[in-house]
């Protein structure tokens, strides 16, 4: 697995919030931008609190606005998110000091706009 430093990860998030995400046409990017904007505050909260979460590495953060709770599994964090915040936007993120990059070798030949 390739890993991103926090700074690189922040840059990637920022680039997405500027309106472009790789892998689609302009219309699709606009839609994805709008969706990503819904989690902008949550990503910001996660990044801000991440330096204090070293002891929680590998667990899952449930983030809503400026609130952050920690759970042992993805399923638990997700269930708590829906119970607590209903259908409002929330973020579930694995706590990692160095962001893990997912590889998808299949996705060839799509234009990148970033």
């Amino acid at each position: 697995m390739q890993r991103l430093s926090l700074q690189q990860y922040g840059t990637e998030i920022a680039r997405c919030h500027q309106g472009w995400v790789c892998g689609g046409g302009a219309a699709v990017n606009m839609t994805r931008r709008e969706v990503l904007m819904a989690l902008e505050k949550e990503v910001e909260t996660y990044q801000k609190k991440l330096p204090d979460l070293k002891a929680e590495e590998g667990k899952y953060a449930l983030v809503h606005g400026e609130n952050l709770d920690i759970f042992g599994t993805y399923e638990d964090a997700l269930s708590a998110g829906y119970q607590k915040y209903k259908l409002e936007p929330f973020l579930v993120k694995k706590i990692q000091a160095v962001e893990q990059v997912q590889f998808v070798t299949r996705l060839l030949g799509l234009p990148c706009h970033t």
Binding site: Q8, L78, L91, G109, L110, C112
Partner: protein, 145 residues
């Protein structure tokens, strides 16, 4: 152990799966008095080259999903530069006439797949629940779960 024995299509080891909302979201929708959308039959490619499973944006749109995660992905199309993608919580059913496998909560990343004739990638995260045998000489594959 239930298993599916299928032919490898020109596009690879393809399988029809059901994708719906996750169990936690189902509960939230019901409690909110909203209807739970029916699961969708989706053509998926079994892809051992994908560390995470992916869905085309048309799927979460049809299911009325909002993203609950963000992942950093690296694909050949981005020239070595990782990019960020939305992630959705869904349920996934690998159908079998006698005993289907239902995964009630699966995180799937959003990726443009429709142009490849598929709507989902079944990555190694889901395959951890399965046994996959690919027989290239015969042109078949078996998925047991």
């Amino acid at each position: 152990m239930p298993h599916l024995a299928l032919q490898v299509a020109p596009g690879g080891p393809l399988i029809d799966v059901l994708i719906g909302v996750s169990k936690a979201r189902q509960l939230a929708l019901t409690q909110a008095g909203q209807s739970v959308p029916s699961s969708l039959q989706v053509r998926a490619l079994i892809d051992t080259g994908a560390s995470c499973s992916c869905i085309d944006p048309s799927i979460p749109k049809a299911l009325g999903l909002a993203p609950t995660g963000i992942v950093t992905m690296l694909t050949p199309s981005t020239g070595g530069q990782p990019h960020t993608a939305n992630q959705y919580d869904v349920s996934l059913v690998l159908r079998h006439p006698n005993l289907s496998l239902t995964l009630w909560t699966v995180a799937m990343a959003e990726s443009q797949l429709l142009m490849q004739g598929i709507q989902a990638l079944i990555g190694r995260d889901v395959l951890t629940n399965c046994l996959l045998v690919y027989d290239g000489q015969v042109g078949s594959f078996t998925l047991a779960f």
